[in-house]
């Protein structure tokens, strides 16, 4: 816009408000006479007065007598709105929580495993569960009697399966029977330590220099004549669930009852030195995602007493198995026992 035209806008405003002096009115008239766009947009002085008289007429015709609510009502209204917002928030949270529960209940997969080579991943809230299809490990302990009735139609049988890692036979014989809490008497082999310990450590000090992870490994030449049996060196306590065997209680979803799911789910949970479960692996699937997922979810929710070596907590693995059996196919009623 031409600076002169911008100035004329201010002059027109002054004329409209009745604040223009005679000099300003003359200046406006001179510009309007020479500037056709300004004349078209603003009009002459009479046009300005006509437009502004319309505003005055509208003002004078105003008959609205408002009754403004008192400030006391304002306070009450504010308090009410605060309560309304608070109650709405609570109701929204309840509805969201219910919806989340329904979604989670419906999201548990119930598809039967068709291909054993497929390694599925179950989405369990807050944890990562992998179902590994491994070769079933031999059961070293027979199935225990039914221990707990989960509902009217499904019985959970708690079978403790000791899925020990494979170790040389001679070492296993030297260790004695496996148990949840065991004291292992290890043998020290000069030859074994010479191959695994750093060479700059004297032989008589290498025992202490050995890392804890290697401490439970069996000596390679345990049966040889130069192996020296010594006093108990490593007192090992394996991982146990905090709260006993009942600490892990899988709760299969309703669809498992409906489809008559049954089978044995073996699993192992890696537990860190603080007793927190890190990773759940299905080592033997029952064939139902619902059962396997329930077992892993329960295992990941439990807390554990960590594995200790000479009283020092170390990461460990907890292995267990659950057998789900439909009661309708049982011969008699299942009585919870352990």
């Amino acid at each position: 816009m031409n600076p002169t035209c911008a100035r004329v806008e201010s002059l027109a405003g002054a004329i409209a408000l009745g604040e223009a002096s005679d000099a300003e009115r003359d200046e406006y008239r001179r510009h309007i006479a020479a500037c056709a766009p300004c004349l078209r947009a603003l009009g002459g002085e009479r046009e300005i007065e006509r437009v502004m008289s319309a505003v005055a007429d509208a003002r004078d015709a105003e008959t609205w007598e408002p009754i403004v609510p008192s400030a006391r009502d304002r306070r009450t209204r504010l308090a009410r709105s605060a309560w309304r917002v608070g109650l709405s928030g609570v109701a929204l949270a309840i509805v969201a929580s219910l919806g989340l529960h329904v979604l989670l209940a419906a999201a548990v997969p119930t598809v039967r495993i068709a291909d054993a080579s497929v390694v599925p991943v179950l989405p369990v809230s807050g944890m990562h569960v992998t179902l590994d299809q491994r070769t079933p490990a031999p059961k070293s302990v027979a199935a225990a009697p039914p221990v707990r009735a989960v509902s009217e139609s499904l019985v959970v049988v708690h079978n403790v399966i000791a899925l020990k890692a494979s170790t040389p036979a001679n070492v296993k014989a030297a260790r004695g029977p496996a148990s949840a809490t065991e004291t292992r008497i290890s043998t020290r082999s000069v030859v074994a330590m010479a191959t695994s310990a750093p060479s700059n450590v004297p032989i008589w000090r290498r025992d202490a220099a050995m890392p804890v992870a290697n401490a439970t490994h069996a000596p390679l030449f345990a049966g040889r004549a130069e192996s020296i049996a010594v006093a108990p060196v490593y007192v090992v306590h394996d991982v146990t669930p905090l709260g006993g065997d009942g600490a892990i209680s899988p709760r299969p979803p309703l669809i498992a009852y409906a489809e008559g799911a049954e089978g044995t789910t073996a699993f192992e949970v890696t537990v860190d030195e603080h007793g927190a479960p890190q990773h759940c692996t299905i080592t033997k699937s029952s064939g139902y995602f619902s059962l396997d997922g329930a077992v892993c979810a329960a295992a990941m929710h439990a807390r554990y007493v960590p594995r200790t070596v000479n009283g020092r907590a170390t990461p460990g693995v907890y292995r267990d198995a659950f057998t789900f059996r439909s009661q309708s196919q049982d011969d008699g009623p299942a009585i919870p026992q352990r």
Partner: protein
Amino acid sequence: MEEVYLTAGSAESGAQVRVEALAREYQTKLARYLRRMVGDSEVALDLTQDVLFAAFRTLQHDPERPLTAGWLYKTATNSAISYLRRKKIIRMLPLDREHDVRSWRIDEQSAASLDLQAALARLPADQSAAMLLTSYAGYTSHEAAAILGTSADAVRQRVCRAMKTLRTVMTERS
């Protein structure tokens, strides 16, 4: 209008008396000004109530503060501009302010009144405020400039631009 605006209290009595006086004198003018600004009677009443409540709060904290009509109009203008911004963002209420005009009483629906409201509906909030403060509330351009926080020349320019829009509306309607 003999209305009790606030609860009686020893600490609030001074502020209460002053706000009552302000409300008796200015609540109608403020409500009419705000109705022209926002185009809705109910909203105008709410905003007027907000302005008076803000005045009470201000006097409660600082009883010696001189609270003038200019302060009330400044607060009312800011409230109206905030409301129009919210309305523009939320878009839950109809943007057509003529719709609200049709709900006005018959005796308020004169040609000049409708033309003015139609023009105000097309104007930016600052131009509406300048036009209403000067030609509607009766302030000079210098007083309106103090209320709006700008210069007198800027107020005159805004009035001129608002007047151009009003002239266009009047031409279209005739």
